[in-house]
């Protein structure tokens, strides 16, 4: 598919800013995964006096917009305080690049989350934050799934109300995603992204993701019944 990028995206792709890694960095974090073809690593140098990010670098494995969004994220972060970076929204990165195609919006989420993860590492190292013990419940799972972007609309699947049903039991989670009119073309990608996000939660050992092709609130006969024991009651159903 021919994807039309803005001149700003092309500029940051061909001349990325702040590439590489900082020797003796104060913090670093990697977001994304090789299997998804999208991965970015940030390293930071932070002034502990005023919490200003004095230097930030990135390394990328990904497409043109992965490189461009990571580059833009470093440009925006440099000279800001860690608190300011924590308030970054992925939309700002996309806007500063003159916009991203909906199918590439997930790159801006990856870049901003990676940057925030590096800031978090720095805060932990400086006793300003604690390593959170992730609890697996509907709320934390829903929060995590905010990072999954519908490639058709460029919006989060949570914001689009596509997360139909979540059931957590011990180390096992069952999630239903309703396509809500999204082209079936993207079903497999959404399933993979959701599965990958959930599998990253240490408190989960078993992840079952099911895609409902039509509207929410309604289990279609072609999908068959829910697996035994998976009756509605939780979630929004």
């Amino acid at each position: 598919m021919a994807i039309k990028y803005t001149p700003e995206v092309i500029e940051h792709f061909t001349h990325p800013q702040n590439v590489g890694e900082i020797e003796g960095a104060d913090a670093s974090a990697t977001e994304g995964s090789p299997a998804c073809g999208d991965m970015v690593t940030f390293t930071l140098k932070v002034n502990p006096e005023n919490k200003i990010i004095e230097d930030v670098r990135f390394r990328s494995y990904g497409c043109a917009s992965n490189i461009a969004t990571a580059s833009m994220a470093t440009v925006l972060a440099k000279g800001k305080t860690t608190d300011e970076v924590k308030a970054f929204h992925p939309k700002v990165v996309a806007e500063r690049l003159g916009g991203l195609p909906a199918i590439k919006m997930h790159c801006s989420v990856l870049a901003v989350n990676g940057l925030k993860a590096a800031v978090k590492q720095w805060e932990i190292a400086h006793g300003l934050a604690q390593e959170e013990e992730v609890v697996c419940n509907e709320q934390t799972i829903r929060k995590l799934l905010k990072g999954v972007i519908n490639p058709e609309t460029g919006r989060s699947i949570v914001a689009m109300n596509m997360v139909n049903y979540i059931k957590v039991e011990g180390g096992r989670v069952y999630v239903e995603i309703a396509l809500m009119g999204t082209d079936e073309l993207y079903a497999e990608n959404i399933r993979e992204e959701v599965t990958e996000k959930l599998e990253s939660m240490k408190c989960l050992q078993e992840v079952i993701v099911r895609i409902l092709e039509r509207d929410k609130f309604e289990m279609k006969a072609e999908n068959g019944p829910r697996p035994e024991g998976e009756q509605p009651g939780g979630g929004e159903a």
Partner: protein, 408 residues
């Protein structure tokens, strides 16, 4: 984009050559009639389509009435698969294909699955070959049709249609082959090869877009998939694409004229590019090498970098290629072909297809190889795979597949 383009995306489409254009023009401007019309202009158009049909059928060793013009190879695949299913007896509800087919075969299959057909998707080996024994085991008394491409569109694997067709013949099962990549590149004679339906098109052989054809062996019954007037043996309604048919025939005439010599030279281009690119560390060729591969196709994995980024940097340097990466596909999932031959997802993402035509030159191959090296080096200098890129393991010794060879 630089001024001079090196076009290595000929498995996608090819440039139309001048004689084809010249042959087509009068059928837009002078002989513009509708073949269905009874007057002189209609007659001229009808004759032109008949001549084109006879010529193209001839290259397949078929009779003219066995060739149905369509709008594309995709439409030909749909007509073959959905059309055969439409005529099937209620006892014949099983279809067989492979995991490396084009979406123009896989998606009609998926549609039929939704209406109650069962479909078997055969595994392939590391090089993309379907084992005739696997096919034999998949066939049942309920099997209606088998659909396997001749030349794979991504990794160039040329299936042994003779052996696969023979298996279908033994069981009285229809055999369809999606063959736009191989038509006019390797010989296919339906008098020798036991195949019942063959899809081809014009734009892969320097002909126009918007015209394809389906060979339908005499006696094979299909249900039309569109309703309208009884054109094309009442199988494909709609006014015939007269200039398209004329252009298709002219393109085929030129392509078949020196097919053997042309393809010998094109395969030398292919092998030269593959050899040059394998000089780059951490690279790997996907699909077979030598004669069992389309002369027009090379597919290379560059580890630790991503295909869309490679493709775009090459495009800016005037080299046009395509990628098996999810990021350059509309669905964001990596190529089904590359994952089916066992590539790990991250390696599928870093795969680039270079595809050639007889218009390409050795100079272009050498120039493109240099540019690829430059781009790969540039992207690797910023890759997030830091320890891996500095590892000693290179080329063939590297792990590219999820499964061990004996597990295929």
């Amino acid at each position: 984009m630089s001024d001079k383009v090196i076009y290595f995306d000929n498995n996608d489409t090819t440039p139309l050559v001048e004689p084809v254009l010249q042959a087509m023009i009068p059928y837009f401007t002078v002989h513009y009639g509708n073949p269905a019309s009874l007057h002189q202009l209609g007659l001229e158009a009808e004759e032109a389509v008949s001549e084109a049909r006879a010529a193209i059928a001839g290259y397949l060793g078929a009779s003219p009435e066995e060739l149905i013009f369509t709008g594309s190879a995709t439409e030909a695949n749909n007509l073959a698969i959905l059309g055969a299913a439409g005529m099937a007896s209620p006892r014949k509800r099983h279809l067989v294909t492979s995991k490396i087919e084009h979406s123009a075969v896989l998606n009609p299959m998926k549609r039929l699955e939704k209406s109650g057909f069962k479909v078997t998707y055969l595994e392939v080996d590391r090089e993309g070959f379907v084992d005739p024994d696997d096919l034999r085991k998949a066939l049942t008394d309920e099997t209606l049709l088998v659909s396997l491409a001749h030349g794979n569109h991504e990794i160039g694997t040329l299936q042994d249609l003779q052996a696969l067709g023979a298996v279908c013949r033994e069981r009285g099962v229809l055999f369809h082959s999606d063959a736009p990549q191989s038509f006019s590149k390797v010989p296919l004679d339906v008098g020798q090869v036991p195949v019942d339906l063959v899809s081809i098109n014009a734009h892969k052989l320097h002909g126009p877009k918007g015209i394809g054809a389906l060979y339908v062996r005499r006696g094979v019954k299909l249900q039309k998939i569109m309703e309208g007037a009884p054109q094309e043996s009442n199988l494909r309604p709609g006014t015939e694409n007269v200039p398209g048919a004329v252009g298709f025939a002219e393109a085929a005439r030129i392509a078949f004229q020196d097919m053997t010599a042309d393809m010998t030279r094109v395969s030398a281009l292919r092998d030269r590019l593959i050899d040059r690119l394998l000089e780059i560390p951490h690279t790997h060729v996907n699909g077979p090498r030598g004669e069992r591969r389309l002369a027009t196709n090379a597919d290379i994995t560059f580890k630790y970098i991503e295909g869309e980024a490679i493709l775009m940097h090459l495009s800016m340097r005037g080299v046009c290629v395509s990628s098996g990466s999810a990021c350059s596909s509309k669905s964001l999932t990596p190529s089904n072909v590359l994952t089916a031959i066992g590539l790990k997802h991250e390696d599928a993402h870093g795969s680039i297809r270079f595809s050639f035509s007889k218009l390409n030159t050795f100079e272009e191959v050498d120039e493109a190889a240099e540019k690829v090296k430059e781009v790969v080096e540039l992207l690797r200098s910023m890759t997030a795979f830091v320890p891996q890129i500095h590892s000693e393991t290179e080329g063939e010794g590297e792990v590219f597949y999820k499964k061990k060879k004996e597990e295929f």
